[in-house]
């Protein structure tokens, strides 16, 4: 019998849901060493997009849990909608969907940049591009920052000897391993200079100081965590309000 993850991916493809795999399951495909118990998607927020999503969720017998109920309004505000799959063999697997994320490009751009990964017995699964997944992972959670480091290390580890300028600039922009940044800067000083304009901490990597680079990487991480925390304060207040309304029967939480 296929796993719940297998079933969700197949069902989303069958219903032609305009959705991009992201989160832990996407990280696994890109080289993140993680065991993720749920499945996350970025979805197209439109009548057509949500209709196909609802069809897939209905087939999986997925029930909307917590708040908010699935709606364009909630997704466009940046909320996540959560579901539990009640279908046979689905083991209550949780599906989380989002339409808009902090500091991440709008969905149509994400869709344009998607990577389709062929999975046996499933088909071509649309996956959020690595560069976009990295942006989506810049959250307030420590475990996401550990994953970010792994994603770039894995990307570098698997890369061939022939590299594009864009790929090296991507590593300069996102690598979180001090020693690798120092080595990269030594190998490609001209590109390091270009990347420096957008990431000042590269100055320490260019000067060969891994210790200082590590300290600045931590500051960079702390700043992003703070931005994410602030971003969620308003959303959390709204979630509390909706939860209160649901508790008092003012909000239907089941699709």
């Amino acid at each position: 019998m296929s796993s719940p993850i297998h079933r969700v991916l197949s069902t989303f493809l069958k219903h032609k849901v305009r959705a991009l795999l992201m989160g832990g399951q996407a990280c696994i495909l890109y080289g993140g060493a993680e065991f993720s118990r749920n499945i996350d998607f970025a979805v197209m927020v439109s009548d057509e997009g949500l209709n196909s999503l609802k069809s897939a969720l209905a087939e999986l017998e997925a029930e909307n849990i917590f708040v908010p109920p699935l709606s364009q309004e909630a997704l466009m505000k940046g909320h996540a909608c959560h579901f539990r799959c009640k279908g046979e063999g689905m083991r209550d697997l949780r599906i989380d969907v989002m339409g808009v994320m902090r500091a991440v490009s709008p969905f149509p751009e994400l869709w344009e940049r998607r990577v389709e990964i062929e999975l046996p017995e499933i088909g071509g699964v649309p996956v959020m591009a690595l560069a976009d997944l990295v942006q989506a992972k810049k959250t307030q959670r420590d475990k996401d920052w550990h994953m970010l480091r792994q994603l770039i290390e894995s990307d570098m580890y698997k890369s061939s000897n022939e590299l594009s300028r864009e790929k090296i600039l991507f590593w300069f922009a996102e690598c979180r391993t001090p020693e690798l940044l120092v080595n990269l800067a030594a190998k490609y000083p001209a590109l390091a200079g270009v990347a420096l304009e957008k990431r000042p901490l590269l100055e320490s990597a260019i000067s060969g100081n891994a210790e200082e680079t590590a300290r600045l990487l931590k500051s960079e991480e702390d700043m992003e965590k703070e931005l994410d925390w602030r971003h969620w304060q308003g959303l959390k207040a709204e979630l509390e309000k909706w939860r209160h309304e649901k508790k008092h029967g003012m909000c239907n939480g089941v699709i």
Binding site: A33, E116, L119, Q140, Y157, L180, N183, R243
Partner: protein, 83 residues
């Protein structure tokens, strides 16, 4: 223009100049930094192989009666739901 690479991904081709990575000791350095054979073996796999391995973990997870509840994460904005 979409391409399918050797590891089975399809996507847009990288544009622009190709640069040599010969002297960049990335792989050797990553081996030294990570110093964990299991993680390095994982990095070596392609996406299909990683997916297949993760599916095996689900089988083991089921065998031992693991819960599909998402682990509590006090740093998650969704922690207010107390899953």
């Amino acid at each position: 223009m979409k391409r399918r690479s050797e590891d089975g991904r399809k996507g847009k081709s990288w544009r622009g100049q190709k640069l040599s990575m010969e002297a960049f000791p990335g792989k050797a350095l990553i081996r030294k930094i990570v110093d964990n054979d299991e993680v390095l073996d994982w990095y070596e796999l392609n996406p299909q192989e990683r997916f297949a391995e993760s599916q095996k973990l689900w089988e083991i997870f089921d065998l031992f009666g693991g819960s599909y509840d998402v682990q509590p994460d006090t740093q998650s904005p969704f922690n207010i739901f107390k899953t």
